[in-house]
């Protein structure tokens, strides 16, 4: 089947199998490998992207379901003036170690801040409940999101 999906502002059209998952469409068809597949069971959140502005786990969405929609991946966050505030927050506050979960963390945090520009620590922890990190113990990730909230938010 043919799908037309706008990714990071760029329209894409491709002939795909109906069973193709959005995560694989991004990685294998568009070569946007910033979206990571971790658990592949909609648990770990590494594959989180924004689908029409809403955070979803792209390992549990068919490319067919995203037909006609707009997707934002980690590659779409940085602008001409550099990293997005959330990306910069992770850099400033050492919100990553191995980096595998980071794209999903950053996308989930971006979605959180677009809904709640000034979240409490508990709201950050609840907002990132669907994203697992095995390196940092989460404390620095929470601090990264707090940094982002104070320095430009979801932009």
């Amino acid at each position: 089947m043919r799908v037309e999906i706008t990714v990071n502002g760029q329209p894409h059209s491709a002939e795909v199998e109906s069973r193709l998952l959005l995560a694989h469409f991004l990685r294998d068809v568009l070569s946007l490998t910033g979206t990571h597949v971790g658990c592949d069971t909609s648990s770990c959140g590494a594959c989180t992207v924004l689908l029409d502005g809403v955070a979803v786990k792209s390992c549990t969405v068919l490319a067919a379901q995203a037909d006609g929609c707009a997707v934002t991946t980690i590659e779409g966050l940085a602008g001409p003036d550099g990293l997005s505030p959330v990306q910069e927050g992770f850099r400033q506050c050492h919100g990553l170690q191995c980096g595998y979960c980071t794209p999903g963390m950053v996308m989930a945090a971006t979605a959180l801040l677009s809904e709640r520009p000034d979240p409490s620590e508990q709201e950050i922890r609840d907002g990132l409940k669907g994203n697992m990190c095995r390196c940092t113990g989460y404390q620095m990730i929470v601090e990264s999101v707090q940094w982002a909230a104070a320095n430009g938010g979801a932009r």
Binding site: R19, S42, G45, V54, V56, T60, Q65, D67, K129, N131
Partner: protein, 273 residues
């Protein structure tokens, strides 16, 4: 993990979805948010030949007051239930259960109709809908019928829905202002409940108590309800939580542990009222 191959059809209306179900017999499955069905397909526990995507039927996503009941469209997302002002006012137990499902990404995609139709014995919303004495509205080739929640769940991931029917609405008696509680125990933050309980106080006294993870279907703890109605103190009534239940005994938890959890969680829920 990749699902087995299937044909994909996007329905433009409820009637189109029903036509597709009728055309393909039992080979077709409805795809709503996909957060129960797609994981099952990736594990090859489900291999439908046809997926009928109803995810864009916006007319099935709503919450409205319908006389003394609240009508919830089958495609209403968990995220919407969490935040909807009518849900908060009239059936807050539903919001209390919805906000405990999975995580934000899952709640963005998952729908109440999809969750109920999947009929998992540990589904949070099933407990809430059972405790609220909800009615599920199914549409099929021969028209519309109402199925009481207590008759809807027939086995693990089995329901009273026929293969050519779809859930369109959930009707819940308004329970605004009445005490309620939702408790569940999970091994990790975003896991399914090992055991969960939803309690809804009744206008005339007593309470409805629904359990998940305590049998092949979500179920009502009738022994607890009868004890409460007879004036038994909550702590004592909670001790009857596992009576008549046959909780599963598996790698997640033993049946004895589940029975213990049920008593503790029902006790907490009744105390919280």
């Amino acid at each position: 993990m990749i699902p087995a191959g299937f044909s994909y059809v996007r329905a433009g209306s409820v009637q189109e979805a029903l036509d597709e179900l009728a055309r393909h017999g039992g080979a077709a499955r409805l795809l709503a948010g996909g957060h129960s069905l797609l994981p099952a397909m990736k594990l090859r526990r489900a291999e439908p030949g046809v997926l009928v995507d109803i995810g864009r039927l916006g007319e099935l996503s709503y919450v409205r007051v319908d006389g003394d009941r609240i009508a919830v469209g089958a495609l209403t997302s968990h995220r919407t239930l969490e935040r909807d002002p009518l849900v908060a006012e009239h059936v807050p137990l539903l919001a209390a259960a919805a906000c405990r499902i999975g995580d934000p990404q899952v709640r963005n995609r998952g729908t109440i109709g999809g969750s109920l139709a999947h009929a998992d014995p540990a589904a949070d919303l099933a407990a809430a809908v059972l405790a609220l004495d909800g009615v599920l509205v199914a549409r099929g080739p021969s028209g519309v019928r109402e199925i009481p929640a207590r008759e809807f769940f027939t086995g693990p991931r089995r329901s009273a829905l026929a293969a050519d029917e779809m859930l369109t609405e959930i009707r819940l008696p308004a329970a605004g202002g009445l005490p309620y509680a939702f408790e569940k125990f999970s091994r990790r933050a975003l896991d399914w409940a090992v055991v969960g309980v939803a309690v809804q106080s009744r206008p005339g006294g007593g309470a409805a108590v629904a359990l998940i993870g305590m049998g092949p279907t979500p179920l009502r703890a009738t022994a607890v309800e009868e004890a409460l109605a007879a004036g038994t103190p909550a702590a004592e009534a909670a001790g009857l939580a596992s009576r008549g239940c046959e909780p599963p005994d598996n790698v997640v938890a033993s049946s004895a542990y589940r029975a213990h959890l049920a008593e503790v969680l029902v006790g907490r829920a009744l105390t919280a009222l």
